[in-house]
């Protein structure tokens, strides 16, 4: 067994967190509170040292970038959301963020998320001497077109359009199944790491 106090604490925390699998209990609720508190506190401290302090003391204090007062003023308005009378002021920073966010989507997202994907789908439907690649290219092209048809809600889907959209649904089921399997495998890997910690690092088994 380990002689390291931190390994013992880690084992207690691991088993305490796993205890929720049995049922809700006081140990788990304490650990849950610890988790939220430390995570939130950590983000506050990291943000202060990496962002807020350099902005206030460096850029605004020494660099004299006076224009920063504008976004700082906007950020300060966000805290009015806690005032019943002046809560509407918090809409201003939200509006600014949404305006820039929307403009970013309109100017930067179209190319990688739509045009690049569409271009990648423009595959040759006949690859000379390679029947396997030909079939796979057909599968991708039909898949993208049929799933897009499935998500097309402007017209009522009837006849061949409906049949093609059903093909898209099959593609979606395969994609969801594969992604689900990938997620399960990822989680299982993390679980194995925790069990390895308990069995090897803590109990010293299999060393």
């Amino acid at each position: 067994m380990s002689n390291d106090i931190w390994v013992w604490i880690g084992a207690f925390l691991t088993l305490g967190t796993y205890s929720i699998l049995f049922k809700d209990n006081p140990v788990y609720r304490v650990l849950e509170a610890l988790f939220v508190a430390i995570l939130a506190g950590h983000s506050v401290v990291i943000n202060w040292y990496n962002f807020q302090k350099p902005t206030l003391t460096g850029r605004l204090g020494e660099g004299k970038e006076w224009t920063l007062i504008i976004p700082l003023f906007l950020a300060a308005l966000m805290y009015f959301r806690y005032s019943r009378k002046y809560a509407w002021l918090a809409r201003y920073p939200m509006a600014f963020l949404m305006g820039i966010g929307a403009a970013y989507v309109l100017t930067k997202n179209l190319k990688p998320m739509f045009l690049a994907q569409a271009r990648a789908t423009m595959l040759p439907l006949w690859v000379p001497g390679n029947i396997g690649a030909t079939i796979n290219n057909w599968i991708v092209v039909i898949g993208v077109a049929s799933v897009l048809t499935y998500f097309f809600f402007t017209i009522r889907k009837q006849g061949p359009v409906n049949a093609f959209s059903r093909v898209g649904r099959i593609y979606l089921m395969i994609a969801f199944g594969a992604l689900f399997a990938d997620t399960v495998l990822g989680r299982v890997s993390v679980t194995l790491v925790r069990f390895q910690f308990l069995l090897q690092d803590w109990l010293g088994l299999g060393m």
């Binding site: 506190g41 401290v45 950020a75 966000m78 820039i100 739509f114 998500f151 099959i170 790491v193």
Partner: protein, 205 residues
């Protein structure tokens, strides 16, 4: 000021950003960079909103002695204790980093791994092959799951190949179409927002 002001700010900042990106002029380049910078400053300074909300919700529970108020009190004490520890001691403070590495990390990893068990029960519900769609989902998931571990190649070398094929072709096609659809949806939503048609995120109807 309460309704039109925020919408005007949204439209002005949005259109200014778009113009500064689209118009290929050296005079407009700093505009986009400045707006980007301001965006980061605003985001960086509003993270305390979360801490204030946590304090409000948990403080209220403690003051009212609601059920389980003891856990809310622990949360508040640890939250402010950890913040003070970090702000006073600095980022390289030993205790600050020990708590992160030896308390937060094991809990975080274990919470992440408990999802394995919840996913297991979700899989049971999702994979009951009640109809053709569920059966397809089941087959794809089983092939990929078995094909990505050593068990798959031990059963048959064809299983890992089938798993790779499912991931590289039908899954790519499905996900690509989803991404393209999401892009169109995002662009439409952004257009509605920037033209002032979409205001629900500000609490308007």
């Amino acid at each position: 000021m309460k309704r039109e002001g925020p919408v005007a700010l949204l439209m002005i900042s949005g259109f200014l950003y778009i113009i500064s990106v689209i118009v290929a002029s050296p005079a407009m380049e700093p505009v986009a960079a400045t707006l980007d910078d301001w965006y980061k400053v605003v985001v960086g300074f509003i993270n305390l909103v979360g801490v204030i909300s946590l304090t409000q919700v948990n403080g209220r529970a403690v003051l009212r002695r609601s059920e389980g108020w003891f856990y809310n009190a622990i949360l508040l004490v640890v939250l402010y204790g950890y913040i003070i520890l970090g702000l006073v001691g600095g980022l390289h403070n030993v205790a600050f980093n020990l708590i992160y590495d030896n308390i937060l990390t094991p809990i975080l990893m274990t919470i992440f791994s408990t999802l394995t068990f919840w996913i297991g029960s979700a899989a049971y519900r999702a994979f009951r092959a009640k109809n053709a769609d569920a059966a397809i989902l089941l087959v794809a998931a089983v092939v990929v799951m078995i094909g990505r571990v050593t068990l798959g190649s031990a059963i048959s070398p064809a299983i890992p190949k089938a798993a790779e094929w499912i991931l590289n072709f039908p899954t790519v096609a499905g996900m690509r179409a989803i991404e393209m659809s999401a892009a169109i949806g995002g662009i439409v939503l952004a257009l509605r927002m920037i033209t002032g048609l979409e205001r629900s995120f500000m609490g308007f109807d």
